[in-house]
C-alpha cells in the first residue's frame, strides 16, 4: 500500500508503453488486448444506473469506496472501448477522491487518443472520465460526512 503509485506516475507509464508502438495499428492491437483481458463487470451492474451516456456503444462504470480510496470496475459491449475502460481504470483505480478529482489526465492527449479517435467517440472517453471523477467526489464527500 505504501508503494501506491501516483496518478502522474501511472499516466507516464502509459505514455511510455504507447511510445513503444510505431503505428496506430499496433496501438489498437494493444488497446484491444487490454479490452479482452479486462475482467467482465457483473451483469448486476450492467444497468442504466451505471451506464455512461455519450458513447455509441454501451459503457458501464461501477465504483465503490474503501479505506479512503475509490475502486472502479467497468465494461463495454465494444472491445476497443473496453480497452479504453481498462486504461482509465488503471489510471484512477485505488486512488483517493482528491487525487482523482485533481488528476491531470494528460495521457489522453500525450498518447494521441483524442486526436486519433473521432471526436464523437473521444467524447465518450471524456464522458467516462467525467463520470468517474464525479463518482469519486461523491463517494469522498459521503465518507467525510460519515467519519
Amino acid at each position: 500500500m505504501e508503494n501506491q503509485r501516483t496518478i502522474e506516475e501511472i499516466e507516464q507509464q502509459l505514455v511510455d508503453d504507447f511510445a513503444l508502438f510505431e503505428t496506430w495499428e499496433e496501438k489498437y492491437e494493444y488497446i484491444i488486448d487490454l479490452g479482452k483481458k479486462l475482467i467482465p463487470l457483473s451483469d448486476a451492474f450492467k444497468i442504466d444506473a451505471y451506464k455512461i451516456k455519450g458513447c455509441q456503444s454501451s459503457v458501464w462504470i461501477h465504483s465503490h469506496y474503501e479505506n479512503g480510496r475509490v475502486f472502479f470496475e467497468g465494461d463495454s459491449d465494444a472491445v476497443i472501448v473496453r480497452g479504453l475502460v481498462a486504461i482509465v481504470i488503471t489510471v484512477l483505480n485505488g486512488q483517493s477522491p482528491t487525487a482523482i478529482a485533481e488528476a491531470p489526465l494528460s495521457f489522453i492527449d500525450a498518447i494521441g487518443l483524442r486526436s486519433h479517435l473521432a471526436q464523437t467517440r473521444a467524447n465518450g472517453l471524456s464522458a467516462m472520465l467525467k463520470q468517474m471523477k464525479l463518482e469519486a467526489s461523491i463517494l469522498g464527500g459521503q465518507s467525510s460526512s460519515h467519519p
Binding site: 495499428e25 484491444i32 455509441q56 459491449d77 465494444a78 476497443i80 472501448v81 486519433h116 479517435l117 473521432a118
Partner: protein, 410 residues
C-alpha cells in the same frame, strides 16, 4: 441526360477535390454517401462565385446584384422542378433539409388538416425525422400514429399496410428508400391505396432523390422531400415539394419577411406560393450552388450513375458474403447502393475505429432508426454506401481492411 460516352469514374473523381486527401496517412475512401455526398468542384466554385461577385439579398432589391442573385436563386427552383418532374415551380419550397421539410409539413398541414381521432400512418423503417414531427403534431391534435409492419428482409408488409388504411387515415408518411438498409419501398402502391381512402401521402426522398429517377407527377405523391447535401449539393439546403392545392390550403409555418403581402398590426395577408413558406432571408448561396449539383447529376445521367453504383453494390455484397460471420441486413434485389451488415464478434463501433485507421469512412450505429434496429433485434450495423465517384478498387481495399480488422477483434 447521359451523353452516351462510357462512364469514366476516374475523370469524375478529379472533379471532387476532397478525394485527394489522406486520412490517417491513407488515401481517403469515402463510403458514407448516404449520410452526405462529397461536392464536385463546380458546387464549391458556385459558392465562391456568389460571395465574390453578386452577394445580395433576393426578391426585394432593385439593384443589379439583387437582380442577379434573385435570378440565380430562382433558377435553382426551376432546376429542382425539372429534377423531380414537378408541374409548377411554385410547388418547390426551399428549406434547410429533409428534417425541416417534414417538420414544416407536419406543423402546417397538420394544423390545417388534422383533428382528434384522425390517423397518421408511418412505417417501421422510418428515420427519426419522419417519426418525431408526427408524434408532436399527433399529440397536439389528438391524432393517432399507426405503424406499417415490415418483414425480416426489411420490406414494408403491404398486407399489414392495407389493413391499417381506413376512413380516419389522413396522412401516410413513408420513406422511399431506407437510410439504414437501402431497400426501395413500394411507394407507388402505397400512394394509390392511400388516395383511395382520401389520405395525403408524403414520400421521404432523402435517400432516393440522388439514385432513382424521380417524377412526382407520375408517382402522384402529395409531398416529396429531400436534402440538397445528399445530391452532391451544399449542406443547409432542402426541398419540400407539395401539390399546389394542398400547399395553398396550409397555413404558413414561420412568420416574417418574404412570406407576406401586406402587414398591418390588425391583419396580415400572406404572400403566394412558394414565398408563403419561405419567411426571412433564405440560404441564398447554398441554394444557388445546389443548381450546380443537380446539373452534375443530370450531366452524368442518373441511370448511368445508378448502373455504376449498382455494380459496386453487387460486388461489395458478394465480397462481404464471403467473409465468415458477416450477415447482411436487408438482402433484397431492389436497393439503393447501401449495404448494412453485422459481423459476429465485432461491435460496429470497433469496426468504425479500425476502418477509419485505414482511411475508410463508413457509418456505424442505429442510423437514427432506433425502432427499426429494435425490430431487427440488433444494436446497430456497419453501413457502407456508395456514390458516383467510388470504385471497385476501393471496395477491394475496404474488404481487405475489414478482414484484417475482424481478425484483430475476434
Amino acid at each position: 441526360m447521359s451523353t452516351g460516352t462510357p462512364y469514366d469514374v476516374h475523370s469524375i473523381r478529379q472533379r471532387f477535390p476532397i478525394l485527394n486527401r489522406k486520412v490517417k496517412g491513407k488515401d481517403l475512401i469515402y463510403f458514407d454517401n448516404a449520410a452526405t455526398a462529397q461536392k464536385p468542384v463546380e458546387v464549391i466554385d458556385a459558392l465562391t462565385q456568389y460571395y465574390s461577385y453578386y452577394n445580395a439579398n433576393i426578391h426585394r432589391g432593385l439593384h443589379t446584384l439583387a437582380d442577379e442573385a434573385t435570378a440565380a436563386f430562382e433558377a435553382t427552383r426551376e432546376a429542382v422542378k425539372e429534377f423531380i418532374g414537378a408541374a409548377h415551380s411554385e410547388e418547390i419550397i426551399f428549406t434547410k433539409g429533409t428534417t425541416e421539410s417534414i417538420n414544416l409539413i407536419a406543423a402546417a398541414w397538420g394544423e390545417a388538416c388534422l383533428s382528434a381521432g384522425d390517423e397518421i400512418i408511418l412505417s417501421s423503417l422510418e428515420h427519426h425525422a419522419n417519426i418525431v414531427p408526427w408524434q408532436m403534431v399527433a399529440q397536439k391534435k389528438g391524432a393517432t400514429i399507426r405503424v406499417i409492419p415490415m418483414n425480416d428482409q426489411g420490406e414494408m408488409d403491404m398486407a399489414g399496410f392495407h389493413a391499417l388504411l381506413n376512413d380516419k387515415t389522413k396522412m401516410v408518411a413513408v420513406v422511399h428508400a431506407s437510410n439504414a438498409l437501402g431497400i426501395i419501398q413500394p411507394v407507388e402502391e402505397i400512394i394509390r391505396s392511400a388516395h383511395q381512402h382520401g389520405a395525403v401521402v408524403l414520400i421521404d426522398g432523402a435517400q432516393s432523390s440522388v439514385h432513382l429517377d424521380i417524377n412526382v407527377r407520375e408517382m402522384d405523391c402529395d409531398f416529396y422531400v429531400f436534402s440538397g447535401h445528399k445530391v452532391y449539393g451544399p449542406t443547409g439546403t432542402g426541398v419540400l415539394y407539395g401539390k399546389k392545392h394542398i400547399l395553398n390550403s396550409m397555413s404558413p409555418f414561420l412568420g416574417g419577411g418574404e412570406m407576406i403581402k401586406e402587414v398591418s398590426f390588425e391583419q396580415t395577408t400572406y404572400n403566394e406560393l412558394p414565398f408563403k413558406f419561405e419567411a426571412g432571408t433564405p440560404n441564398i448561396a447554398d441554394v444557388i450552388a445546389l443548381r450546380s449539383a443537380l446539373a452534375f447529376i443530370t450531366e452524368l445521367g442518373k441511370s448511368a450513375i445508378r448502373m455504376h453504383e449498382d455494380v459496386l453494390l453487387k460486388y461489395a455484397t458478394a465480397q462481404l458474403q464471403k467473409i465468415e460471420g458477416v450477415q447482411i441486413i436487408g438482402e433484397v434485389e431492389n436497393k439503393v447502393p447501401v449495404v448494412s451488415f453485422v459481423a459476429a464478434g465485432a461491435h460496429p463501433q470497433d469496426l468504425a475505429y479500425l476502418l477509419d485507421n485505414n482511411g475508410i469512412a463508413v457509418r456505424t450505429g442505429h442510423h437514427c432508426a432506433q425502432p427499426l434496429m429494435k425490430r431487427l433485434g440488433i444494436v446497430g450495423t456497419t453501413r457502407v454506401s456508395f456514390g458516383a465517384y467510388n470504385t471497385q478498387e476501393e471496395v477491394d481495399v475496404f474488404i481487405t481492411a475489414l478482414e484484417k480488422s475482424l481478425k484483430m477483434l475476434r
